[in-house]
Symmetry: C2
Subunit: 355 residues, 2 copies
DNA sequence: CGTTCTATTTGAAAGCTTTCAAAGGAGTCG
DNA sequence: CGACTCCTTTGAAAGCTTTCAAATAGAACG
C-alpha cells in the first residue's frame, strides 16, 4: 500500500504538506492542496493507524472489556458502544474476561500498549480496575465503568437505576396484593445486584412487610442458579407467591422450576425479571421485567469517553439511566386474591409503566 | 510507561539485547539475560504493540467483521474466535456492518492500516469481499469467511453443513407423516439460506412430494419476517401442516403467528427452526431446531487463520461443520395422523439426533 | 524595485520496536 | 602468545506518521 512518501512524490510536495492537507493542521494553498487530494484518491491511500498512533501517542481504538459476549445482556451494550464509536471514527477492541479478575488484568495491561483512546469496562468479580484506571488516567486515557462498579470506583460511570427499577417492580407486586414476596439476587458483590436488593427491601419496608431471611436467596446471574434457588423457595412453608428475580436469566430458571414443580406461573407464583431481554417476550408465559437499555448504556459510555477526549475536564460523572417496568404475563395477583378478581379478563400483549 | 531504552539502561545493556531477550531472537548470556528480565519485571514494562506492529509489519490483532453482534447467533461465533485468538496471544477488533456493504468496505479498508494478523468475516449482503481479500492476501494477511460466503469466494471458509442439516430436518418432518411442508427461507442471496433450501427440496423430492411455489417464502432472517410470511402460509388452501424455518428467529415469528391465528403448535402446525439458539429452549412450545455451533464456527475460523500464519501454505480450505437435529416440542405428526396416534404420551424434554 | 511582514511549505526529528551488519569477546589450537 | 573461529553484543537503520523550527514564497507598501 502506498505511504505518505509516495503521495508526496505524486503530488510534488513535501511530506509535511501531505500531512497538513490530511489533518487540516495548516493552510495549504490551492494548487498543491488538490494535487495531494487527487494523489490520495488515485492511490487509495489510507494513513497507517499504527504509525499515526505511535506518533500521536494515541489511537482511534476504544478498548471494551466485558465479562462474556455470550451473555445475552452484553451484546446490546457492545453494539451501543460500537455505534457511537464508529460514527465518530473510533473502533472497538473487544475483550472477554469471563469475570476472571486475572484475565481482566492481562487485558488492562496489554491494552495500554495500544495507546487506546479510552476504555469501557464492565468490571469482573473483585476487579482491580480502580488501581489500574488511575494509571490510565495519568496517561490521559479515559476509563468509563458500565453496568456495575468495582470497589471504590470514583471515576466516570454509566449504570441503570437499579434501585428504582427494583423498587418499582416490587411495588407493582405489592399493589397486586402479594404479601409473600421472595427475591433471588445476583452475586451481591456486584453493585447492581446489591442495589436491586436495596430497592426490593425498601418497597417491602414501606409496605411494612417482614422479610424472612429464607426469602432472599443469592446466586449467579444464570438460569441454573435461578432454577436451583427457586426450588429452594418453593419448598418453604409458607411458599412465596411472587419472586423478584435479579435478572432475566434467573427469572428464566425460576420459570422452569415452577413448571417442574407442577405449579403455574402466574396463577400460583408470579415471577418478575430484570433487564427485559429479547427472550422475555417469548417465554411461557412472557416475562414481566424491569427494562434497561443495554444499548443506551454502551452508547452513553462511549459518548462520555469521547466528550472527555474532546476536552471535557471535570469531576467524575455518574450517569444513571432510567428503567421502565415492562409488564407481560408472568405476574398476576396472588392465588387467594385472584379468586374473586378479574384474572380472566383479556390481557394486552404488553404494558409499559414508567418508573 | 517505561520503554525499551529505560530497560536497557536499567540492565546496563544495549537496546538490541533487550529485544533479543524479549523475543528469543538470539542467545543472550547469563548475567545480562537475568538483568534484563529483572528490569522488565521491576518496571512492569510491556512492549508497545504499535511500535512493534509498525516494525514487524503485522500486529497481534485479528479483525472480525460481522453483521450485528445483537443478532443472537453471532455472539457465540465471536466468542469462539476470541477464545482461540486470546489463548494464542491475539486480540479481536470487532466491526459490525449491519449487512451494509458500504460499511463493510469502510471496515475492510481501515482494518488494513492496522496491519492485522488476519481477518474473520461474515460477509454482508452483496459483499465485495472477494476483491478486497485478494489485496489482503497479497500482503500476506489471511482472510477467512464464516457462516456464509460472498459471490465467487475461493478462499478459506468455515460453514455449517446447511444442506445436510436442512435435509435431515425435513426428512424428520416427512417421517412424522407430514405431506404439506412449507419453508420460509432467509434471503436467498445468502449462501446459507440457499443451501438450506436445497436440502429441504432434496428431501421433498426424495419423498416424491410436489412443492407448490406458494409453499416457499423468502424473507429476512428475523422475527418480523417469519411472522409475516407465516401469516401468508396460514392463509393458503390447503394449509401447510409443517413449516421449516430458515433460522430460529424466523421460527420464533412463525410461532407467534400461529398462536395469533388461533392455531396450536405443534397440534395444528409443526415448526422447525435452524441454529438452535439458547432461546429455542424457552419458547412455547420449546422449538425443535437444527443445531449448529456458532462457537465452533468462530473458533475454527481463528484456528485456520493462525495455522496460515504459522506457515500453512496450501490450497484454500473449506471446512464444513456437522449439524445435529435437536428435537423439542414444536414438531409432531400432522393433525390427521395425530388422531389415532400417541401424541399424548409423555414427552422427553429434548432429544438429539445425529445428522 | 527593495523591504518588511505574513502566509506557506519544507525537512528533520521523534515516537518505539526489530533486525542486520559489524564489532567485540571468549575460547581453541598450534 | 598469536591467530583463528565462533558466539555475543552492539548501534544504527527502518518502519510511517506528526510536528516544530526554519526556510521560502508571496503580498503589500513605499
Amino acid at each position: 500500500m502506498a505511504n505518505m512518501h509516495e503521495i508526496a512524490k505524486m503530488a510534488g510536495v513535501s511530506l509535511g504538506t501531505v500531512s497538513h492537507v490530511l489533518n487540516n493542521t495548516a493552510k495549504v494553498r490551492e494548487p498543491k492542496r488538490t494535487r495531494v487530494l487527487e494523489a490520495v484518491k488515485a492511490s487509495g491511500y489510507q494513513p497507517s493507524q499504527l504509525a499515526r498512533g505511535l506518533r500521536r501517542d494515541t489511537t482511534n481504538m476504544i478498548g471494551m472489556i466485558i465479562p462474556d459476549i455470550t451473555n445475552p445482556f452484553f451484546p446490546a451494550v457492545v453494539r451501543g458502544a460500537e455505534d457511537m464509536a464508529f460514527s465518530n471514527g473510533y473502533r472497538l477492541l473487544l475483550c472477554n474476561t469471563d469475570n476472571d479478575h486475572a484475565k481482566e488484568i492481562i487485558h488492562l495491561n496489554e491494552l495500554r500498549t495500544y495507546l487506546p483512546a479510552g476504555l469501557i469496562v464492565i468490571p469482573s468479580n473483585f476487579s482491580d480496575l480502580t488501581a489500574q484506571a488511575e494509571s490510565y488516567r495519568r496517561a490521559g486515557t479515559g476509563v468509563v465503568c458500565v453496568d456495575r462498579l468495582p470497589k471504590n470506583w470514583s471515576g466516570d460511570s454509566v449504570t441503570a437505576d437499579n434501585e428504582a427499577g427494583a423498587y418499582n417492580a416490587t411495588r407493582h407486586l405489592l399493589q397486586l396484593g402479594h404479601t409473600r414476596l421472595a427475591t433471588i439476587t445476583g452475586p451481591l458483590h456486584f453493585t447492581n445486584a446489591k442495589e436491586r436488593l436495596v430497592g426490593f427491601k425498601r418497597a417491602m419496608k414501606e409496605a411494612k412487610l417482614h422479610l424472612s431471611s429464607d426469602y432472599t436467596q443469592e446466586t449467579r446471574y444464570d438460569k441454573q442458579g435461578g432454577h436451583a434457588k427457586t426450588l429452594v423457595l418453593l419448598g418453604l412453608v409458607p411458599r412465596p407467591t411472587a419472586i423478584f428475580a435479579g435478572n432475566d436469566m434467573i427469572a428464566l430458571g425460576a420459570l422452569l422450576a415452577v413448571h417442574e414443580a407442577g405449579l403455574r406461573c402466574p396463577n400460583d407464583v408470579s415471577i418478575m425479571g430484570f433487564d427485559d431481554l429479547d427472550l422475555a417476550e417469548t417465554t411461557n408465559p412472557p416475562l414481566s421485567s424491569v427494562s434497561q437499555s443495554g444499548y443506551q448504556l454502551g452508547a452513553t459510555a462511549a459518548r462520555l469517553l469521547l466528550d472527555r477526549r474532546e476536552g471535557d475536564i471535570g469531576p467524575a460523572k455518574h450517569i444513571v439511566l432510567e428503567t421502565v417496568l415492562n409488564l407481560r404475563h408472568s405476574v398476576a395477583p396472588p392465588p387467594e386474591a385472584a379468586m374473586g378478581s378479574s384474572s380472566m379478563k383479556r390481557r394486552p400483549r404488553s404494558v409499559q409503566k414508567r418508573t
